[in-house]
Structures are given as C-alpha cells and as structure tokens.
Symmetry: C2
Subunit: 214 residues, 2 copies
Amino acid sequence: MKIGILGTGMVGETLGTKFVQLGYQVKMGSRTANNESAAKWVKAAGANASQGTFADAATFGEAVFVCLKGAVFLEVAKTLSPGALAGKVLIDVSNPLEFSNGTMSLSLCNTNSLGEEVQKALPSAKVVKTLNTVNCGVMVDPAKGGNPTIFLCGNDPDAKKKVTDLLKSMGWRDIIDLGDISKARGTEVLMHIWMNLYGLFGNPHFGFKVVRGT
Amino acid sequence: MKIGILGTGMVGETLGTKFVQLGYQVKMGSRTANNESAAKWVKAAGANASQGTFADAATFGEAVFVCLKGAVFLEVAKTLSPGALAGKVLIDVSNPLEFSNGTMSLSLCNTNSLGEEVQKALPSAKVVKTLNTVNCGVMVDPAKGGNPTIFLCGNDPDAKKKVTDLLKSMGWRDIIDLGDISKARGTEVLMHIWMNLYGLFGNPHFGFKVVRGT
C-alpha cells in the first residue's frame, strides 16, 4: 500500500518510519518539494521513502495521514485541488490544541471537533479519526503505552475497515469503532486529561484502556 | 463518619445505601424535609439513615456529596447559609450535562468546569471532584465497571486524603490525584466518550483505566 504523510514534524516522521519498516511505500509532503526535514527523513528511512509537496503526497497515497496542527491542515486543505483526496482514506491523527499562558484548551470542542471540520473541508475524502489519544511513540508501539484502547471514527465503513487493518499491522489489538466522524468530539477532548497525566507522570508512555465489568 | 447527601435521585440513593452498609450515618437532603423519595430510602436503608432539607444534610455531614444536576446544585448553593458548608469536604460527583435533540453537550467545558463553579459558589468549602467518570452502580462497586481508574481533584490536600480513604473503603484501588479543582475540566469532558460507549455497549458497566508502558 502507498501512504502519504502530510507534515514533516515528529508525528509524521515517526509514522512514516514505521510504515516504511512495515514494507509500505511512503511519501512525505510539505509546503515545498525539497523540504530539509523531509529530505533528512528520506535519506534515513531508505528506498521506500520519498518526499514532495502536500499535493504530491496526497496524490501518491492510497491512505493519507494528517500529521499537521489542526488549524494548519485546514489552511493546507484549501490549497489542494478538489480532486486530490477524492475517494481516498484521509486519516486525521491531530488535535485542535491551543496554549495560552501555559494552559491548554481546544479551538474546537463540545459541539464540534477537528475531525468534523476536516471532513467538511474535504467532503469527497473518507476521513477517519484515530491515534489522536496517544503520543506518537505509542502510536507505532502500543506496548510502550501499556497497550491502551485505540479509538476510531468516521462516516465510511470501508475506510474504517482499511484503517482497522492498518492499525492491526502496527500492533494495535484493542480497537473500538465509535461511530461517525462526530464521535471525534469524544476523543479530542481526552487531550485535557492526557496533558494533565503527562505532567504528573513526566513521560508520554501511557494511554486510556476501556475496561468492562460483568 | 457522618455523611450528607444532597439529592434524592438514583446517584444519591445508591451512594447513601452504600455508605449506610459501610457503617456510616447518612442524612439525605432535598428541597423539603419530608421528601417522599427520601422517606422511602430512609425506610429501606435502616437505622443509620435519615432525611432533612438540603441545609440539614449539609450541617449534618462531615463529608457532603453533591448528587444533583450541576445547574440545580449551583442554584441550591445560593440558598444555603454561607457557613453551612464552611470547612467541610464537599464531594462533587456530577457533570454539567445538557441534551438537545438527543445530542449531549456540556454547559461548562474546555476553559471552565462544574467543579470550579461549585468551588467558586462555596469558597469556604473544600471541594473535591471525583466519581463523575462512572455510572453510580460502578461508583459503589468498581468491579462492576472492570475496576477502572478513579480520578480526584481539588485544592485542599487534607480533603483529598479524606476522600481517598473513603474511596478505598468503597473498594477503589486505582486512584489518581490529578491536582487542583481546575483538573475537573479533564474528567467532566470524559462524558462525551462515556455516552458514546454507553450507546455502543448498551449498559453502563465500564470505565477508563489509565495504563502505562515502560
């Protein structure tokens, strides 16, 4: 499978490297075709790694990962041609984080979510929200976070099936499909308690496991 | 220990019954001293159970539980004499839930929380937020929810110590102190994903366990 990664930050790099290791072909996209961070990553990641513009990575991937800050991606989405992501699985792993005076809040919350806004911005893409409740080190190695539950949601069942298979190939076992893309509201707000626990623990190697009684 | 319960609904009844079973003296408070639901509960719960007004229950309890809807309690708080809860441990187990066209939202969210508003409304009380992330059946029997993590937060360390001991007497083992009362933002928002999972599972016997890797 060919995978596009939009963004050259730590999340994009970590996911890109994992997918190359799993044998997928990966193109990392950024504002410019010759981005330095992407070039460094391509060199390190090997033959199945390549780079290009956001549009190049979007066109390349059968599944495309949003690894940009929420607000940034909504701007980038406007610059893509309407057909660039039509019918494709677009996997949003980001959160609408804002920081002011050291306090975190969400720019979309409670009655809306970034997942929903991404789907609205690209109505012909099949948006699936997932992996946004764990740090990127845990995204690619669930045991590193104590094997938590991973959630996904989206409007297209086939897209969710493909993402579930991809998650399984990454080592995820406890996967819950929450429903349509509006369910992103419930996973994005977990950032509030996630940031709190990150501060308490001093490391990001944790997650939330849904446990059930009898 | 003497415990006051504000509210005669399912949460108040369930907690009150558990505390009587644990050997505590419990007074259930409502708008009127002779509330029918409270009278029925007193009759069923036995000698250590009694009833009265909200003010009676507040005066009676060394620890007082808020088992009312968030908005209702903030109104009730205005009717209590300023000294009624001064210095007392006030345990807020409620959430600022609102429902419109079958969709849940929170009346306080993201940059505020019900826990913080309760503390503001009663500045001389020692507010501790806890138990608001599970159904009342799980509150009094953690195994029924798969032994999840229970969170607490509040500004007063001694009050949190007392509540921790109370939680332990109720069977809780995995207890995390999140910090000051503003951390209620992180636990109240869990209602979004809680309601989602409740719909998927068809029962409220679950919870969230914080798991950690290496």
